[in-house]
């Protein structure tokens, strides 16, 4: 059988079919490629959207998820006294907090019940004895509707460790700097204190807050979702900068002696308050500045806020007879009088419509200027002031630093009150010449006496020596500016007169004597202005002076507010002696050879004890002591200042 040839028309069909299949496959492949391309474009687009458009947002989310920045609080700088003894420092304290909602239970988003972590009363019962608080008080805090409540702040580190060891649910412990004042109330009104957050609120803590506070640091960590640190992750530590230390001019020992002395004086003489300022003559640096009532900055919540005030800086008073030294110094400087110039002094003088009297009636006497100072004669001083005139007296008082702040660099310093001489009236000159109608702060009074002690050279007082940086070395403050108020000769003359005011037979400051040292100074007793105008029957007793008189090194000014008895020579002078003696010993000032023999000292001590015992009767004090005292009745009736 022969094979039939296929028809020519169908011979190419398989090839045709194959070609069609290829075209279909190619078409399908192209479609797939197109689809893949589109998908790829979508992916690339999304990738670009994420990596470019939303890059920052996702990066931030990532950082938020894994990184944790911990703020490292800066340690506040210390405050030292002039010898490097610590007056204020910071230690690590513990802050206890709670999450009250942990004790309330709840329900998750999936409906799962979360039981309370513990009973608040159980937790409170465990914490109460450690925190020293009532259980009910703690329960009230633990039952609040909040995520965070403080249970105690700035507690001792050991308290925090004890609570941490209890592993109480919902209770946490944070480390927090705690400011401590090792001396308790020592120099508290000068140093001040910080608030619960470590910010300076009072005193030098507030004034030097930006210096002391330092710079907080940060610790950047990477943490897994479970809260564990990623060991190989980012860990960037920016250490906190410790605050700069501040070194004061205070001497801790002198400061303590000053505080003891004013506290004893307030207690002994039933006074409302008292202040004392101790200055170094050569530099006008404040060695001590104490006021009572005081307070303990570690437990200040228990004290009256009135006690926080640094009265030696903020409170003004009339200086009384202590101002006579400035009036007489001005007259000597102007060449109007000398210490030996004799004046005829009666026991009263009328100026305009006002009459001024001396403390004790006396016949018309011829006294030298030195005797006028020694006897603290109002009339004699007024006669000298009248030669001086309004303008010159005003000018010299301002040169001595009255009527303006001392640039001490302490917050809240008062400027005192001294009217311009253009506003003075008839009795202003005599009134101001004897220390009335003018108000000073104790630091002003002390600095004015330091000017006399420093041979007429005035310097702004300072309470800060400098700062101590990271190298542990002192960077001293710039030295105080100097200006001449009176000449050296005038200053020497006034110094000699002030010695007589203490050790002279008619001196009013006998109780200011310091064994072994010659002392110069002046008492003052002044009525306090009444709130309704005029003068009240309350007094301020003052004493200001320096030692050793022949080479002055230390100035002490004392003010006792509303004492009984009222006299500066009885109340303030012994405080001066006690503080001056402590300061001279602490500063290692050698005695100048004027110490009495032992028998003399014993006799003098017995006499002082007898006089103090006799001073209980106010009217008998002057007679029994045998020394004249300041006239508490100045200014007299008719003086405009008392109207």
């Amino acid at each position: 059988m022969t094979r039939q040839p296929k028809p020519r028309r169908l011979a190419g069909l398989p090839r045709l079919l194959s070609r069609n299949a290829d075209r279909v496959a190619v078409r399908r492949i192209r479609w797939l490629l197109v689809i893949y391309g589109l998908v790829l474009l979508v992916v690339l687009g999304q990738l670009a959207h994420i990596q470019i458009v939303q890059a920052d947002e996702y990066a931030d989310a990532s950082v938020r998820q894994r990184e944790r920045t911990i703020e490292l609080p800066a340690t506040r700088g210390r405050i030292y006294d002039r010898d490097g003894d610590v007056l204020a420092t910071s230690v690590e304290g513990a802050t206890i907090y709670a999450d009250p909602r942990a004790y309330q239970g709840g329900e998750t988003a999936e409906g799962e019940i979360i039981p309370p972590a513990a009973e608040p009363v159980d937790v409170a019962t465990a914490l109460a004895p450690i925190l020293g608080r009532e259980v009910d008080d703690l329960v009230e805090r633990l039952e609040r509707d909040a995520h965070f409540v403080y249970l105690g702040r700035q507690l001792d580190h050991e308290v925090g460790r004890e609570i941490r060891d209890l592993e109480l649910p919902g209770i946490g412990v944070l480390a927090e700097p705690k400011r401590v004042y090792p001396g308790g109330g020592l120099a508290a009104q000068v140093v001040g204190f910080t608030g619960i957050d470590g910010d300076g609120l009072q005193g030098l803590e507030a004034h030097y807050d930006t210096v002391l506070r330092g710079e907080p640091g940060t610790l950047l960590l990477e943490r897994a979702p479970g809260g564990l640190d990623i060991a190989s992750g980012v860990r960037e530590l920016l250490p906190s900068q410790v605050g700069t230390d501040v070194v004061l001019t205070l001497d801790r020992d002198v400061q303590h002696a000053a505080e003891v002395a004013v506290n004893d004086a307030v207690e002994q003489f039933e006074a409302k308050g008292a202040s004392v300022v101790v200055l170094d003559v050569a530099s006008s640096e404040v060695l001590a500045m104490a006021s009572t009532p005081g307070f303990d900055p570690n437990e200040r919540a228990q004290d009256d806020a009135e006690a926080w005030r640094n009265r030696a800086i903020t409170d003004m008073f009339e200086p009384g007879s202590t101002q006579k030294a400035f009036t007489i110094a001005a007259a000597i400087e102007e060449g109007l009088v000398s210490p030996t110039t004799e004046l005829t002094v009666q026991d009263r003088i009328k100026v305009g419509s006002s009459t001024f009297t001396d403390a004790h009636p006396h016949d018309e006497s011829t006294w030298t200027v030195g005797e006028i100072m020694e006897r603290s004669s109002n009339v004699g001083t007024i006669q000298i002031a009248q030669q001086l005139g309004d303008e010159r007296l005003d000018s010299y008082l301002r040169d001595f630093g009255l009527g303006r702040p001392t640039n001490l660099g302490f917050p809240g310093e008062a400027s005192g009150l001294l009217m311009g001489h253009e506003d003075w009236w008839g009795s202003s000159l005599p009134t101001i010449a004897i220390g009335h109608g003018v108000a000073v702060t104790l630091i002003q009074l002390a600095n004015a006496y330091a000017t006399i002690a420093n041979d007429g050279i005035a310097m702004d007082p300072s309470v800060v020596r400098g700062t101590v940086g990271g190298d542990g070395r002192l960077s001293p403050n710039s030295p105080a500016r100097q200006r001449e108020v009176i000449s050296e000769g005038t200053a020497k003359a006034v110094q000699a007169m002030l010695v007589d005011a203490v050790s002279g037979d008619m001196g009013t400051g006998a109780l200011a004597s310091v064994p072994g040292y010659s002392v110069a100074g002046k008492t003052g007793t002044a009525r306090k202005p009444a709130p309704e105008g005029g003068y009240s029957d309350r007094y301020v007793a003052t004493f200001a002076g320096f030692a050793p008189a022949h080479d002055p090194q230390i100035v002490v000014a004392v003010m006792v507010d509303e004492p009984y008895p009222i006299w500066g020579g009885i109340v303030a002078a012994p405080v001066f002696a006690e503080v001056m003696e402590a300061a001279l010993i602490a500063r290692r000032v050698p005695p100048d050879g004027s110490s009495p023999t032992l028998p003399e000292a014993l006799v003098r001590a017995q006499a002082v004890l007898d006089e103090l015992a006799a001073a209980e009767e106010e009217d008998e004090v002057a007679d029994r002591l045998g020394v004249p005292i300041d006239d508490p009745s100045s200014p007299p009736v008719g003086d405009p200042a008392s109207d």
Partner: protein, 146 residues
């Protein structure tokens, strides 16, 4: 009419002329696939192991560094507490109270003697300089003398 005589070489001969000359083909080297794979596995394994080991070492160092930081922090805290404690113990008021509790009484007025030279107990005069005071490590350097 006769066609022009041309000597045409046969097509086969032309193709032979275009062929390169034959040469001996070297037998291709056998590839050691298994060894290659092993080497790669070893390299990868070594790399992974090295990375993990370095990570572990870094983690160990980090733990140690953290422990040291904690130790430094504890030491600083202890130092700060000790400074405060020393200052508290040195406080004149506390010393005064402690002295009073021990039965001491405040001294009376001071008396002074001026000595022109040091007098030791045996009577011999010694002009030895005073020993220099040791700086207090708890206090800052406040002057060139300290």
């Amino acid at each position: 009419m006769s066609a022009p005589l041309t000597t045409r070489r046969p097509a086969r001969q032309r193709e032979d002329d275009r062929r390169p000359e034959l040469s001996v083909v070297v037998e291709p080297r056998r590839r050691h696939t298994l060894a290659y794979a092993l080497v790669m596995i070893l390299l990868l394994g070594g790399g992974v192991f090295g990375a993990v080991a370095l990570n572990a070492l870094a983690a160990a160092e980090a733990v140690q560094a953290r422990a040291l930081e904690r130790q430094v922090a504890d030491s600083e805290r202890a130092y700060g507490s000790l400074v405060a404690e020393v200052a508290t113990l040195e406080d004149p008021g506390r010393i005064r109270e402690a002295a009073l509790d021990l039965g001491l009484v405040p001294s009376g007025p001071s008396r002074h003697l001026h000595l022109e030279r040091n007098l030791p107990v045996d009577g011999a005069v010694v002009q030895a300089p005073l020993p220099e005071s040791t700086p207090d490590p708890l206090k800052p350097v406040l002057s060139a003398e300290r």
